[in-house]
């Protein structure tokens, strides 16, 4: 049981480190190439898309 407790704590420590390392990367702003890519994709699919179902 003592071992379980330690393992649990270790798991927490590792996951917290993971989340932090990961969050550092995920915080970076999205580069322009992706904004442009999405615009392109949208234009392409806009030509053959039916009107979207989202009307407010």
């Amino acid at each position: 049981m003592e071992k379980n407790r330690r393992t649990k704590k270790l798991t927490q420590t590792i996951d917290e480190n993971l989340r932090r390392a990961y969050a550092d990367t995920a915080k970076e702003p999205v580069p322009d190439r992706f904004i442009k890519l999405l615009e392109q994709l949208r234009e392409q699919s806009g030509e053959k898309q039916k009107p979207s179902g989202d009307e407010s």
């Binding site: 393992t7 990961y22 970076e28």
Partner: protein, 187 residues
């Protein structure tokens, strides 16, 4: 198909998932240029397949699955060719060393880079993203039990590499590690 769905168009939500996709891709490829190429391929693929996405299900899981499949089908072989045995690339993981406790973070990145693809992947999915074992199993196309044991083994390996084995609890509470964990700065 069903245009009456009250959900947002997943196409509009995609951009919100890009930072996470880039982080996941970086963890898989361990190279920032390759990571962004991978994300681009995955985005194009996802866009062409949005009709297969079930509204109301987890969009991020769906996107990660595509990204992951793209990686294993197109990129893994390629990466082997540029693999560097000195682990220089590991440094690219910490492009922005945290001002607080960066030593511990560097250790962490270096240790993380030594894990296998499957181990890094499962730690990102389960440990960092917080997907359930079931979700991760579905994304990786394997059994829940496999994901569980892989996750445990990956955590254990990481602990060993960081010399944080469970007999050594002190190491986990040292100031730098705690700073990393809590996000406070080391005085």
């Amino acid at each position: 198909m069903d245009s009456q769905t009250p959900q947002m168009d997943p196409r509009d939500e995609l951009i919100g998932h890009l930072p996470a996709m880039r982080a996941f891709a970086l963890n898989l490829t361990r190279n920032s240029a390759t990571a962004d190429d991978l994300v681009q391929d995955a985005v194009v693929k996802a866009w062409g397949n949005f009709d297969k996405f079930k509204p109301g299900t987890n969009l991020r899981a769906w996107l990660f699955t595509i990204l992951r499949n793209t990686y294993y089908s197109l990129y893994r072989k390629r990466r082997r060719e540029v693999e560097d045995p000195d682990g220089k690339m590991a440094g690219q993981l910490s492009e922005k060393p945290a001002h607080d406790g960066h030593l511990a973070m560097t250790d962490f990145h270096a240790a993380f880079a030594q894990l296998t693809d499957e181990q890094r992947e499962v730690l990102v999915l389960v440990g960092a993203e917080g997907f359930s074992y079931e979700e991760a199993a579905e994304m990786c196309g394997c059994a829940v039990g496999t994901i569980k044991s892989r996750t445990n083994r990956a955590r254990k390996r990481l602990a060993e590499l960081m010399h944080l084995d469970d007999e050594d609890e002190l190491a986990m509470t040292d100031a730098a590690t705690m700073a990393v964990v809590t996000g406070t700065s080391v005085a």
